[in-house]
């Protein structure tokens, strides 16, 4: 049964999406049960996958066949099957997506209760989760493209869910425009690869790629497209709008969808084209990372609208991960290998942290919007008395994202500071300045929303319903576990993930059988 886990991972949310219209017709209880149980089942399956990939195991699953190749009567074997390949790195990403899906679903039960349109909401929500999980699990580049499209199309609909708001339509249209340009470039890159190698299987291409001119062009296209999709500066323009206008449960999942694109970028740089482009590719990642970090936080500081502010912080946090992975790619193969490995472990740790605390922050922002009916910080104040649970969980998430000790954000950022210093002290300086500005920005949010005298207009505000608190509590628990047991997570999961990324030969041979 356990060998089918990768298939169950995709099947579960997909079945949830197909059953949603029927569940909504059956009534409120059936609807809520399907939303929560299917997302919980996805989370349980993802935990099973993480457990199965511990210790360097690689799960390979071929859809519809025994082997990844299709053997023709002539004896020719074509690598055409739909295939999943999951090692320690993508298992972690899958866990993040599944956790966000579950938390967002719990939150949505109460948050979306007063709206109609549940058939569409639930179907698209599960399809978005399916797309993001597929992006993380697939071992085939064309299927990666298909899953990118599945998650993108679902998210266009969900960003524009409140379609009477012109801002929501504009955000969705902007996101669609950027995504479709990116998708076309991705398709061109895939066409070029298929033309050259007659294959789109990731391991097959990794075994054949030698770093020729076409490989470099394709790699450049991949970097541009996936940097677009993960919201790196200067290709970030869609991100604050889309994050701000989507319902909070959706934004929670959108964070991990953009992380799935980040996963794709890192997988391609490390496992498919390792060493292609020399030091240029790592330095591009480092420069993109520094620019995203600094400009993202600078734009966040001046915002007055809570979800837009958090959207700009997302750009800044993606910058940390890009820089860490760039340092890892630059240093891993050279004399500074130990720093490279630490940078990668720190980057992976930060990726998990970001998925969890940013998702929680968006849920907190959703709770504030639910209770007050506004996202404008200037119209909030004194809410700590009426919303103590939301305030408490917001403080934990804000401390974690700002890198305050002893929270998990501090540990991952410290690993990134240490390793980036070995490459250039300026990188560490930029990262630390960004962290200080992040703290300043979240101190402003906390002061504006929760402290000070209560506003007369908000006198009737009460704490949000239990289901919403439960969604936030699930993510808070995850943050506290990462904070309390960082060594366990690092030694069992993050080091394993970094080793999996560096083990290019292992990634290839898991499918190709010792090429």
């Amino acid at each position: 049964m356990s060998r089918h886990l990768p298939a169950f991972l995709i099947m579960t949310p997909m079945l949830g999406a197909f059953l949603s219209p029927l569940a909504v017709m059956l009534g409120r209880t059936a609807r809520n049960a399907v939303l929560v149980l299917f997302s919980l089942a996805t989370l349980v399956i993802s935990l099973g996958i993480v457990s199965a990939t511990m210790g360097g195991n690689v799960l390979v699953y071929v859809m519809g066949g025994e082997s990844y190749t299709l053997t023709m009567p002539s004896g020719m074997a074509y690598p055409v099957r739909i295939m999943f390949e999951i090692d320690g790195f993508n298992a972690l990403m899958i866990l993040c997506v599944a956790a966000a899906t579950f938390a967002g679903a719990l939150f949505s039960v109460a948050y979306m209760d007063r709206f109609s349109g549940w058939k569409r909401y639930m179907s698209l929500y599960f399809m978005m989760a399916t797309g993001a999980l597929g992006m993380c699990a697939t071992g085939d580049l064309f299927n990666f493209f298909v899953f990118v499209e599945v998650s993108s199309i679902a998210s266009f609909g969900l960003v524009a869910f409140w379609r009477d708001k012109p801002e929501a339509i504009e955000a969705s249209f902007k996101y669609m425009l950027v995504s479709q340009i990116a998708a076309m470039l991705l398709l061109i890159a895939l066409g070029a690869l298929y033309g050259k190698y007659n294959a789109l299987n990731m391991a097959a291409i990794a075994s054949m790629a030698r770093g020729g001119t076409l490989d470099k062009i394709v790699l450049a296209l991949f970097v541009i497209v996936l940097a677009f999709k993960c919201g790196a500066f200067p290709m970030h323009t869609w991100m604050p709008d889309a994050y701000a206008e989507a319902p909070a449960g959706v934004t929670c999942l959108l964070v991990t969808v953009s992380q799935a694109s980040f996963y794709g970028l890192i997988r391609i740089c490390f496992s498919i084209f390792p060493g292609v482009g020399g030091a240029v590719v790592p330095w591009i990642l480092i420069v993109l990372g520094c620019a995203s970090m600094f400009f993202g936080v600078m734009m966040a500081v001046v915002q007055h609208e809570i979800k837009r502010l958090m959207g700009y912080h997302s750009i800044s946090q993606v910058g940390y991960m890009l820089m860490a992975m760039g340092v890892g790619l630059l240093a891993a193969g050279g004399a500074e290998g130990v720093y490279g490995f630490k940078a990668m472990t720190g980057g992976i740790f930060h990726m998990v942290n970001y998925s969890v605390y940013k998702a929680l922050l968006f849920l907190c922002a959703g709770a504030l919007y639910y209770a007050t009916g506004t996202r404008d910080l200037d119209r909030m104040g004194g809410l700590v008395r009426s919303m103590p649970w939301t305030a408490g969980m917001f403080v934990i998430a804000a401390a974690a994202i700002s890198g305050l000790p002893p929270f998990n954000g501090f540990i991952s950022k410290w690993m990134i500071y240490e390793s980036s210093f070995a490459v250039h002290p300026a990188l560490t300086a930029i990262a630390m300045i960004t962290s200080v500005l992040t703290l300043a920005s979240f101190a402003k949010v906390f002061q504006a929303a929760f402290l000070g005298p209560a506003k007369a207009a908000l006198s009737g505000v009460r704490e949000v319903p239990c289901a919403m608190l439960a969604g936030m509590a699930a993510l808070t628990l995850f943050i506290l576990l990462l904070t309390l047991f960082p060594s366990w997570f690092t030694s069992r999961l993050f080091d394993n993930a970094a080793h999996a990324l560096l083990n290019h030969q292992g990634y290839v041979s898991a499918v190709m059988g010792g090429v």
């Binding site: 298939a7 099947m11 197909f18 059953l19 219209p21 007063r114 709206f115 109609s116 349109g117």
Partner: protein, 162 residues
């Protein structure tokens, strides 16, 4: 959209059905020839476009029921999922009908292409339903903009009922 001349409606009466038959052929032969559920489904969905163009939106809206297309869009993916599950314990999507364990087909009446053929039918059903819904909704919005009927009176998921 207003109805077109009697020549157009008569031609539509004859040829719109051919599009359905042609689409069904593409769906049914997807495992042998270029085509399959998506392509065939898209061809079948043109049936509704023909009717709308020839007879006008008011008359067609009186004929068709949106719920039928909604049911098809829901039933198609669900049956696709069930056919995919027939592949277990080998793997999801494994063609256990065409390539059974003991080498013998399960039944003579099942298609020789196995689950591929059945999945083509499922995808075709889903695509016909979904594309027809899209076409209907697009015509509805054109009708709404042209006549002003139903504008501003919508109570959908965009209402923040506080």
């Amino acid at each position: 959209m207003r109805p077109m001349s009697v020549v157009v409606t008569k031609v539509c009466d004859i040829f719109a059905w051919f599009m359905v038959v042609f689409g069904a052929l593409i769906i049914n032969n997807g495992h042998n020839t270029p085509g399959g559920g998506f392509q065939g489904g898209a061809v079948v969905a043109t049936f509704l476009s023909f009717l709308l163009a020839a007879y006008g939106s008011r008359r067609v809206f009186a004929w068709v029921r949106e719920n039928i297309f909604g049911f098809m869009a829901c039933f198609g993916p669900l049956s696709f999922f069930v056919f995919g599950c027939l592949g277990f314990p080998h793997s999801f999507f494994f063609n256990s009908i065409a390539v059974p364990e003991g080498g013998q087909p399960i039944s003579d009446w099942l298609p020789y292409a196995g689950t591929i053929s059945l999945m083509d039918l499922s995808v075709g059903c889903g695509v016909v339903g979904a594309l027809s819904m899209i076409i209907l909704l697009m015509y509805k919005s054109i009708h709404m903009v042209e006549t002003g009927e139903g504008m501003g009176g919508e109570r959908g998921h965009d209402r923040f009922e506080r």
